[in-house]
Symmetry: C2
Subunit: 155 residues, 2 copies
C-alpha cells in the first residue's frame, strides 16, 4: 500500500485551501460567485484528482441549474491563477486537476489509471537547480511517476 503522508486532510487544511483560492480570485479582480465558491470548496475538499465532468456533477448537487460552461470557466481561471494544475488523466476521461500545488509526487498506475499522491522531503533543491540552469520563472512543480500500483501488482 502506498504510504500516505502524515498530513491528513482536515477541516483546517481544507478551509485554508478554499480561502487561498478565493483570495487568488479576488486579488485578480475576478468576481466571487456562489458557483465559484462551490467549485473551490469541492476542489479544496477532494483528494481524487477530479475531471471537469466530476467537478460538474459534484457541484450540480448544490446548483442544479449550473452550466458546464461555468465549471469549465471556473477551473480555467483557477488554472491560470496557478491554484490548480492540469494533469493528463491516464485514461479516456480528458484532463484531471491537481489541487495540491506544493511540490510532491504523483504516481500514476498504468494499469488502473489511479493517481496516488506521495510527499517527499527536500524537493526544494530541485527548484534551486532548475533556477540555476534556466531562465525560466518556475512557480510550481511536481514529479510525475508512472508504473504499477501495489493493488495491480498482486492481480
Amino acid at each position: 500500500m502506498v504510504t500516505q503522508p502524515v498530513t491528513v486532510p482536515n477541516v483546517e487544511r481544507i478551509h485554508a485551501r478554499y480561502k487561498a483560492m478565493l483570495q487568488a480570485l479576488r486579488r485578480a479582480n475576478y468576481r466571487i460567485t456562489p458557483q465559484r465558491m462551490a467549485v473551490c470548496q469541492f476542489l479544496a475538499e477532494t483528494r481524487s484528482h477530479p475531471t471537469p465532468s466530476e467537478i460538474y456533477h459534484a457541484v450540480k448537487e448544490q446548483f442544479p441549474t449550473i452550466s458546464r460552461a461555468t465549471v469549465y470557466n471556473t477551473v480555467a481561471v483557477l488554472k491560470d491563477l496557478g491554484e490548480i494544475i492540469e494533469l493528463p488523466s491516464g485514461g479516456s476521461a480528458g484532463v484531471r486537476y491537481e489541487t495540491d500545488i506544493t511540490p510532491h509526487v504523483n504516481l500514476t498506475c498504468m494499469r488502473c489509471g489511479r493517481i496516488f499522491d506521495v510527499a517527499l522531503e527536500d524537493l526544494d533543491s530541485i527548484l534551486h537547480e532548475i533556477d540555476a540552469r534556466t531562465q525560466f520563472n518556475v512557480t510550481s512543480f511536481h514529479i510525475e511517476g508512472y508504473g504499477v500500483c501495489p493493488d495491480c501488482q498482486e492481480a
Copy 2:
C-alpha cells in the same frame, strides 16, 4: 534562454529510440506494421512533444490513406508499454506526447503553452526515495514545472 542539454539529437540516438519502440512492441506480441513503424520513426525523431493530430499529419505524408484511428491506436499501445508519456497540452489541443522517457524536467510556459525539456543530474535519488517510501513499482518519472518562459517574461 533555456539551456538545452549537451546531448544533441543525432542519427544514433534516434535509431536507438526507434529500435527500442519496435522491440517493445515485439516483446509484447504486437504486430509490426509499416504504419506503426512510421509512427515510431516520427516519435523517435521529433523533439516537439507532438499532439496526436500532429503525429497523424506527419505520418500521412508517407501513408496518405492512414486512418486517425490507426494513429490513436498506435500511440495508445506505445503509452501502455511505457515508451511514451502523455502530457497535458496546456491549450485546447488535447494531449501531447513525450518521447523522452528518461528522468528529466518539462517546463511548461503558462502563457504560450510551449514545453521545454531540461536535463538535470542526480534525479535517480528521487527514484530511490520513492521506492523507499512506497510499494509502487515506478518504471519512469519526470518533473513537471510550470511558470513563465524567458520569452514571455520579456513581453
